[in-house]
Every structure is written in structure tokens, then in C-alpha cells.
């Protein structure tokens, strides 16, 4: 039960408020698929 509490608290700390209109950056790789994926 101690572990569960610690995890829950850590999760709360991760919830940093995002500014309004914030768009997360795309993952750096792999890049966009230009045509189609096979």
C-alpha cells in the first residue's frame, strides 16, 4: 500500500498544467509518411 501511495503522488506531480492552446510537438522520429505505409 505504501508503494501505491508513492506512485499516485508521483503521478500527481507529473500533471504540469499546460498553457491554453498548447500543442505538443510531434515525436522527432520516425518522420511523416509522405505517400502510404506498406
Amino acid at each position: 500500500s505504501v508503494t501505491k501511495t508513492a506512485v499516485a503522488e508521483a503521478a500527481q506531480h507529473d500533471k504540469v498544467p499546460r498553457p491554453v492552446g498548447f500543442v505538443p510537438p510531434p515525436p522527432p522520429c520516425p518522420g511523416k509518411i509522405r505517400y502510404f505505409d506498406i
Binding site: P28, C29, P30, Y35, F36, I38
Partner: protein, 249 residues
């Protein structure tokens, strides 16, 4: 205090795209068979600094086959990417580049290509023709018949087969063979070749002496053969007739 290392490049960053463009041009330039490839996606990029203004760049690329034969003079930017239902072929390449003072050069590349699975094509298009083996009897027969047909009708150079690019077979409705093949012009006219085809030699390896043909043979329900050849800068061999002749008839 050493400067902080630069942020890693993203796969869609302009610098990555520039490296991918140099890499794909190098790959196409090294190839003498099949079709030109174009970049579908940059899968990974890693920059390893070697010194001031000197980096190694390791690229992993996902390429797609275009419809432009490798011998075609068409610029890659103008080549159509072969569609998924045309049984697309993908290339996976690892490329090592060097960037010195902003100038990119390729040090080496390793590629592997494979066609999409028949099952994938079937799912998207149940009746679409599927890629056949290059040594498929029907494909070979179609190419031979098509080239004979073209040579029997042309007034230009006698063409010889350089390589088969693709063969596809459609089973329903009808039995149809689709082929694409590269040809080379010879020093004979088609008429001269009738007399002694063995004497006809391919012209020097100049792009203008190459061409590309598409042929479709319908075997069922009714037999039919259609051939279309495009020569890159068609050259007709000079006739064996002097330009100035005493003969006034």
C-alpha cells in the same frame, strides 16, 4: 566549459530532409536496374560529431518505387509513385553521410527491397493483377511477343531487350499479363534486322539509346496484344545511302 550538445535532429527537420534527398539521389545513381525510388519516410537519423563543422549522419529511410525506370531521363521530382494497388515495392535503406562545412556527401548505403504481400493487395483490390516472378513463362512470352510485334512495325531502330522491369498477372475477369521492360536501340534498322539479326549490336550506353515498353497480353477470353514503347531521345540509324547521289532517277 564545453558547449552543450545540439538538440537531436527530428526526422522531419529540414536538415534531415536535405540529407534524405542527397541519399536517395545517390541510391538511384548507384542503381542500374528497375525503377527510381523516392523517400516515403525518414525512419531515424543520428548525427555523430567528428569535429568542428564535420559530422557523420546515419539515416534510415523508407523508400517507395516510382513508375520511372532507372534509365529514364525524367527527374525524380516528376516521377509518379507507384500506387498501392499496382503492387507497390518498398525499399529499406541505411545510409551513412558526411557533412563537412555544410556540404553533404554519401559515404555508403545498404538497401533491401520487397514487394507488398499478395494478401494486402487482395484485401484492397480483390481483382487487381499481382506481381509475377520475372521468369514466369507468361511474362517472358508476353515480352518476347511484344518486342517482336514492335520491331515488325517500327521504321526506326531495331530494339533489343535490356531487362524486364515488372510482370503482373490478372486472373479474373479474363487472363491478362501486364509487362514493363527496358530496351536498347541497336545499330540496325528493323528492316536490316530481318536479314541478319545477329549482326545488330546495341548502340553505346547513352541515355538517348534506351527506351521503355509496356505491353499487355490478353489470353482469355479473346487473345490480344498491345505494346507501347517510348524511346528516350529516339535515334534512327543513318541509312546506307550517300547524301549526294549520282542517281537522279
Amino acid at each position: 566549459v564545453p558547449a552543450a550538445p545540439p538538440a537531436p535532429l527530428g526526422c522531419d527537420d529540414p536538415e534531415s530532409e536535405a540529407a534524405a534527398a542527397v541519399a536517395v539521389n545517390y541510391i538511384n545513381g548507384q542503381s542500374h536496374h528497375g525503377y527510381k525510388f523516392t523517400v516515403n519516410s525518414i525512419k531515424s537519423i543520428r548525427v555523430v560529431p567528428q569535429g568542428p563543422n564535420n559530422d557523420f549522419i546515419f539515416l534510415e529511410l523508407d523508400l517507395l518505387e516510382t513508375e520511372c525506370p532507372i534509365l529514364s531521363p525524367t527527374a525524380l521530382e516528376n516521377c509518379t509513385v507507384r500506387s498501392f494497388v499496382d503492387h507497390a515495392v518498398e525499399g529499406d535503406c541505411d545510409v551513412k553521410l558526411q557533412k563537412v562545412d555544410g556540404i553533404l556527401s554519401v559515404l555508403g548505403s545498404k538497401c533491401d527491397s520487397h514487394a507488398d504481400s499478395n494478401e494486402d493487395i487482395r484485401r484492397a483490390c480483390p481483382d487487381c493483377p499481382l506481381l509475377a516472378e520475372m521468369n514466369n513463362t507468361d511474362v517472358l512470352e508476353t515480352v518476347a511477343a511484344a518486342l517482336n510485334d514492335y520491331n515488325s512495325k517500327t521504321t526506326g531502330s531495331y530494339l533489343r531487350l535490356l531487362e524486364i522491369g515488372r510482370g503482373k498477372i490478372q486472373y479474373h475477369p479474363g487472363y491478362i499479363i501486364f509487362t514493363e521492360f527496358a530496351v536498347g536501340a541497336t545499330n540496325c534498322s528493323a528492316e536490316e534486322a530481318k536479314a541478319n539479326v545477329g549482326a545488330c549490336q546495341l548502340l553505346p550506353e547513352d541515355q538517348s539509346n534506351f527506351g521503355f515498353c509496356r505491353a499487355v497480353m490478353v489470353k482469355r477470353p479473346l487473345q490480344d496484344l498491345q505494346v507501347d514503347c517510348q524511346l528516350y531521345g529516339h535515334q534512327v540509324p543513318a541509312p546506307d545511302i550517300p547524301l549526294l547521289s549520282q542517281d537522279t532517277s
